[in-house]
Amino acid sequence: MSLVAFQELFASLIADPALCKKIIANPSLLETDYDLTEREIKRINSFFKQKGMGVNCMLYQINRYTPVFDLMPYTAKVLHKNCKVYARQFWDGYIKTNFQFRDEVLLFGAYMQNRLKNEPETVPYLQDIVNFEITYNRIRYSLYDNPADGIPFYSTQLNSYTRMVFMKYDLRYLIDQVITNAPGTVFDDIPVVNSWYLIRFNPTITMHAVDLETAEAILAEKLDISTLPASILDGGFVVKTKVPA
């Protein structure tokens, strides 16, 4: 069906400025590579002469940035100008998006995690920021499975609004610094703690550093609730009653 091909190409063009340039440079591609009628070819060619095509491309980008800026605001603030560069690279690998905010943000988070593994950033705490934002977004979207890399961790002993995640840096201090400083500011005084944290999100985010013994008990799903300090129990991080086997 020709209209199907026309819509596919229209969508591809606004998502991919490089494709626009390629076809502008070689208009015969419209005849050879796409199943379009003569009228549709004329229509596509006329798009390239209209400033509205640039507006469509801009709106596509604004709309696709929205989940990242809204749901990973600290990552976006730390990355600053690089955020758009990395987002563009992420889109290039996922141009056919379902555009569900959950998937956009978690897949971008996974892209960033992978990128940080292969190319360590000059901002050393970026990995913690990304992991923190993946954590509370997994809570937001009620995801309880444990990803292969264990970031974040959930067990049935934790409240459904709680996950546990390992942080190299002092998370509370780090987030405070990101919030209060200008985008792109690099901090060199974030204390290294190498600690597990419980993160709770409902509807505000609370966090609690836990000692290694408690973290290991949570990981092993053998947490003795009766021994926990009030800060964890009353903070709503764990399920207070025993979960049936």
């Binding site: 069906m1 209209l3 199907v4 026309f6 819509q7 596919e8 229209f10 969508a11 606004i14 998502a15 009228r39 004329k42 229509r43 006329s46 798009f47 209209q50 400033k51 509205g52 095509m53 640039g54 507006v55 469509n56 801009m58 709106l59 596509y60 709309n63 696709r64 056919k96 998006t97 379902n98 555009f99 569900q100 905010f101 959950r102 937001r140 979207y141 009620s142 509807p203």
Partner: protein, 297 residues
């Protein structure tokens, strides 16, 4: 003829303070059901999953005001595909939340291919006003109207590129669609203003080309210029041209049921609660000039 419900507002999360302070100023709330859902993909057994707290929010809203549904994810303009699962969810939502009417857009926002199945365009792209599109679209709206026990409306779209050599003028296309597709019209005056600004046509002449008896709802909003074009960004108060168009068209729409003010939540600080109230009150003043009795259903 259905009764006039009054002046409503498009829901966004920034409105909580307005609802608490000036909730009596509005006659209904319009919601975009898609924002309360995660779409797990075509064929997924639990495809449309309500996000946490969404059902409670919709129930809270419906306990206080009549609700109207404005969908953005059906993508009725997608050629060669009709999303039966989306319709089933619409019917399910209608049963639960008892919307006064439902609406969607004259556009496409998704496409289908063999590689990934369905994917999103990430904005609402225009359709050519051609006979082929009219037939395709009207078949879909007829199916939806038959499945719903309320009126189904189609909103005129905003567009930033002109599509050459179309079979119909937009007004004629919309008129034909109402007839052939058995659907009402949601007339977005700000979209008319944006298109007229960007493509230089006469706003009132355009309105006169429509079948205004099919108009059941009107959207009003504000916008701004970015990239050399006027955008439907819902960026605060309505501009003078939109108010003028509302005053022009309300007396010509005998089946009008509601006028809905839309703004994007990121512009809440620009408006404030009092600013939102001023928009609602202005819309009501215009409606009251021509519509004598408001009946809250």
């Amino acid at each position: 003829m259905s009764q006039f419900l009054g002046v409503g507002i498009m829901y966004n999360p920034s409105l909580q303070g307005f609802f608490d302070t000036y909730g009596d100023a509005i006659d209904y709330v319009e919601v975009i059901p898609d924002v309360f859902l995660t779409d797990n993909g075509v064929g997924h057994p639990n495809r449309f999953a309500l996000s946490a707290g969404s059902h409670e929010k919709l129930c809270d809203l419906s306990a206080r005001w009549p609700l109207v549904a404005h969908y953005v994810g059906f993508s009725l303009g997608t050629a060669g595909y009709f999303d039966q699962e989306y319709l089933a969810n619409m019917v399910k939502f209608q049963d639960i939340y008892k919307f006064k009417w439902n609406s969607e857009h004259l556009s496409f926002s998704k496409v289908h291919d063999e590689e990934v199945g369905e994917y999103a365009v990430c904005l609402a792209l225009p359709l050519p006003f051609d006979g082929e599109v009219l037939e395709m679209f009207a078949e879909k709206t007829k199916k939806i109207q038959a499945a719903l026990n309320t009126d189904f409306l189609i909103e005129n779209n905003v567009y930033f590129v002109h599509i050459e050599d179309e079979d119909y003028l937009e007004g004629v296309f919309l008129k034909e669609l109402s007839e052939k597709g058995n659907c009402g019209m949601l007339l977005d005056l700000h979209n008319v203003h944006a298109n007229a600004t960007n493509f230089g046509f006469d706003r009132k002449q355009f309105l006169d080309s429509l079948d205004l008896t099919s108009v059941q709802e009107i959207h009003i909003a504000g916008g701004n210029v970015i990239g050399g074009m006027y955008l439907d960004s819902h960026s605060g108060p309505c501009n003078d041209e939109v108010w003028e168009l509302l005053d022009y068209v309300v007396p010509k729409c005998p089946n009008l049921r509601g006028v809905t003010y839309e703004f994007h939540e990121s512009y809440f600080d620009k408006l404030g609660n009092d600013g939102i109230l001023a928009q609602i009150n202005h819309a009501r003043e215009i409606c009251n000039k021509y519509i004598k009795s408001e009946v809250c259903l």
